[in-house]
Subunit: 372 residues, 2 copies
Amino acid sequence: MDNLLIHADSERNSDQYYATGFRAGDPFTYFRARGRDHLLIGDLEFGRAKKQSKVDRVLLTTEISDALKSKKKPNTPPDVIAEALRRNGATRVFVPASFPLKLAQELSKRGIHLSVRPDPFLLKRLVKRPDEIRHITHAVRVTESAIGLAASLLRRSKIRGNRLVLRGRALTAEYVRTEMHLYFMRNGYLANETIIACGDQACDPHDRGSGPLRPNRSIVFDVFPRSAHTLYWADVSRTFVKGRPSEGLRRLYGAVRDAQDVGCKSLRAGVTGKSVHEKVAASLVDAGYKTERRNGSFVGFFHGTGHGLGLDIHEPPGVGKSGGKLPAGTVVTVEPGLYYPGLGGVRLEDDVVVTRTGHRNLTRYPRNFVIP
Amino acid sequence: MDNLLIHADSERNSDQYYATGFRAGDPFTYFRARGRDHLLIGDLEFGRAKKQSKVDRVLLTTEISDALKSKKKPNTPPDVIAEALRRNGATRVFVPASFPLKLAQELSKRGIHLSVRPDPFLLKRLVKRPDEIRHITHAVRVTESAIGLAASLLRRSKIRGNRLVLRGRALTAEYVRTEMHLYFMRNGYLANETIIACGDQACDPHDRGSGPLRPNRSIVFDVFPRSAHTLYWADVSRTFVKGRPSEGLRRLYGAVRDAQDVGCKSLRAGVTGKSVHEKVAASLVDAGYKTERRNGSFVGFFHGTGHGLGLDIHEPPGVGKSGGKLPAGTVVTVEPGLYYPGLGGVRLEDDVVVTRTGHRNLTRYPRNFVIP
């Protein structure tokens, strides 16, 4: 029975949220000792922690601090944490790789022995419970509706020269993004970095995209909102062309779509993320698309095939060069892409559950390329 | 000339964003060596980092990794970071208190000497440049407009029994919150945790509030959006009553308003946050409001007077029990509050710049309590 220690806020550290079920924007302490979950927190959050957290015991820093003081012992924050651990017999604890260095040093000085356990720190997070799958599926559905909304804006727009025009105004990445974000907000989701990248913008996979959307060029939509209620994410990408794609762009799209099928079909509990990624990469090479550096930048397929998805938008297991074995019940993205400046970019991304015999795709949005 | 090292993403770690001017959701490495700023990043973000970051040099992990490999040396991520530091003569570096423990251990093994420098790690962040003050002021203005929108919903609602009714429906915390968040989104801001806490809900200062808003009870609005463009925050609180507050509630409000004035007037470059907080706390005690524990929960004034504000919603300097000297040009909140279950809660929060001779209040929203 391992003793565990996390010191972090739970808005940014999902292990902390998963372990405690308690949301707080400022750091607090969680520890597991003698098989029981404890939360150690200050006056301000104590009442709420008792009501909302799912740990076995909520401890108040002030109580421990006062007890130390009355014994004329030092009572700084590390003293209080060390004392709480000692009282519960947890002088040896595992901490995450991200554990803050300074606090680690202070606890070591106070006789607490810390060992780093590599990520994933909370192994259970890797395999999603049915309620977690439901949360992710809900996020995927809402994401698909938002993509549908974007597609309808493209459909309703008219081609005027090298612009798209809707209700007399140029249709821009910013306008479509805001409409999608408003939709998410009305539905209890938060998105702030949706990628709507047209033409060569899409060739830098983390360029969010900006300015007028162009006809006959591919537009990558990479959409990843988080539920404000459950805190689970979806992460879905689709690529559209308004108008007529060139033959080269059509071929690019077909190669990515086929590679995504290859990726999904190679998923099965027990296979490695690495082997899935290699098959996807090989499929793109076989289709004639090489990955290489041109003028200092990469072209082709130069990112991983996918990543785990849950309380974090990027979490284990990885589906890339160094991806290990995939357990049944884990949720990963499958998102091959090809990027060639001049021609454009294409990325398709689905969210899927790895099963004992294969996979279950949570994503239903069709992979249509051309919007007339 | 200190060598510095940060390894973090810049969405969640504001030091990383401040140091590099580069936004990325996944961790990357920044270091300062021989007085020059470096960014060390993978293939995927390399192009964007060269375009968007403000560092002197962007290094590619793959390049260093390949060089190590060709010399038959290990080339794991810590090897690459250690090699990049060595190449630039930075074998001794300062790291932040939050530096990840595992990476610290790996770098130490590779001959890099790390010393923790306590927060604030980047001392410059404490004193805001004119452009930073402008960004915060803009955030405050947008926040005030959103508070005005909430006040207008209260004004337009009718009292029906113990509910407020607007257009035939009960006015709830959730409805007002969504309207405010939509307003923020349309104006390029993100807010997801706005507190709208009515009656006893407000007595737990981190309860966001939920359900129908009640007449004649105080409603605390604590509003803290972040600009999606500049990444700076505002943090403003107002307390309203729709209808008629009791005499006790009026007195409570007056005491908090007076305490806020005391707080603002005691600000001046060189005074300590502690002395400001003590004056605010004394003013509340003098007005007859004691802080104490009742039935296991605190009542009275049981949080700090304020906190620094900038790229983080809570950042140094603190204006509380252990607050040190305040430099000219720092931005802090002044937010006394009183909370008594049964009676209700009141909090007022302004964002102010500390100046050589006093302070400059960035907040303009009037402190009206009663909404008829």
